[in-house]
Symmetry: C2
Subunit: 162 residues, 2 copies
DNA sequence: GTCAGTGCAAACTTTTTGCAACTAC
DNA sequence: GTAGTTGCAAAAAGTTTGCACTGAC
């Protein structure tokens, strides 16, 4: 287990405050799960996380994992994506800047978009009375490589019909 | 069962073309499910949809429902939201204008945002080579009414401690 | 007539729950 | 010491699959 990064320390502090404010207990499990999640860059599933906990010599039960994830979502330290059908996909959120993703309808590949332009235009919108914790944009469509594949398939089909 | 609206007719046509292009069969079930979905304004779950099919005197099996929903998602006539934990939440998408939602972290209430400003700023972004089918924004935070509730609770807690 | 699509039920996967043991407060 | 939390296993909920039958092409 590596030393804690400044990000690790920051989110630990934020989680600590959240637990305090909600009169919840600061258990080893909760902080170990948080630390594991913040060692993952990008998305993960419950299964992935449970394996990681095992690797890190801190196995936790599924029940605890689900319960802690719910807390971390409430604490704005984690989000759930709408990617998979039958199982959940999660990702840490370190800051409250808008996050954008590009999702291919065909190959289902997910790419994070890092456009300052897009982020800025999102940040200008402030709903009345609603205090924003974070913003997420999903852009669905067909990625360049799938566009090529589909075009080729269409061509082949037409040739066969001729 | 009411007469078909022009929206109903339009999506039916689009689904027909999709099925044709993918060499899939045009079954009564598929069109009945599409029609039922487009009779729902806002979000729904599989369970809700299955009940509705029953009401409309066109009961379909769960398997067919799931299969058809997958097709409709592929055909860009339906989206899946990341709202619930254990079951999926769907919503029809009639056009390709950006859609925005405001979600309260506390009461989990979901509100559709109809801001032209927000929609326009999203439409200005075009990822290179990626052909967009639709865009969805989720704005997470605390809604006005929950903000009041939380403030009250904090006050009460402080008074008890004094 | 052929084979994709459907219904039904069973299987499988994911998430939640109940309870005894544990531990943070 | 008193709850809130955890682990474990069992239950519940959600989704997928296999197979015989049906109906679109």
């Amino acid at each position: 287990m590596s030393d804690k990064t400044s990000l690790q320390k920051e989110v630990e502090q934020r989680f600590r405050e959240f637990l305090l404010a909600h009169e919840l207990r600061q258990t080893r499990e909760r902080f170990a799960i948080l630390e594991a999640i913040y060692s993952i860059e990008g998305t993960f599933t419950i299964e992935h996380l449970q394996d990681l906990m095992q690797e890190r010599r801190f196995p936790v039960s599924t029940g605890t994992l689900y319960a802690t994830i719910q807390l971390l979502i409430q604490a704005n330290l984690l989000i759930r994506h709408p990617f998979n059908f039958s199982s959940s996909v999660f990702e840490r959120i370190a800051d409250n800047h808008p996050r954008s993703y590009q999702i291919c309808n065909n190959c289902h590949h997910i790419t994070r978009i890092k456009s300052k332009e897009l982020a800025n235009s999102l940040e200008t919108y402030h709903p009345r009375g609603f205090s924003i914790s974070h913003r997420i944009v999903y852009i669905y469509g067909i990625c360049p490589s799938c566009q090529r594949t589909i075009r080729k398939q269409l061509k082949l089909k037409e040739q066969n019909k001729l």
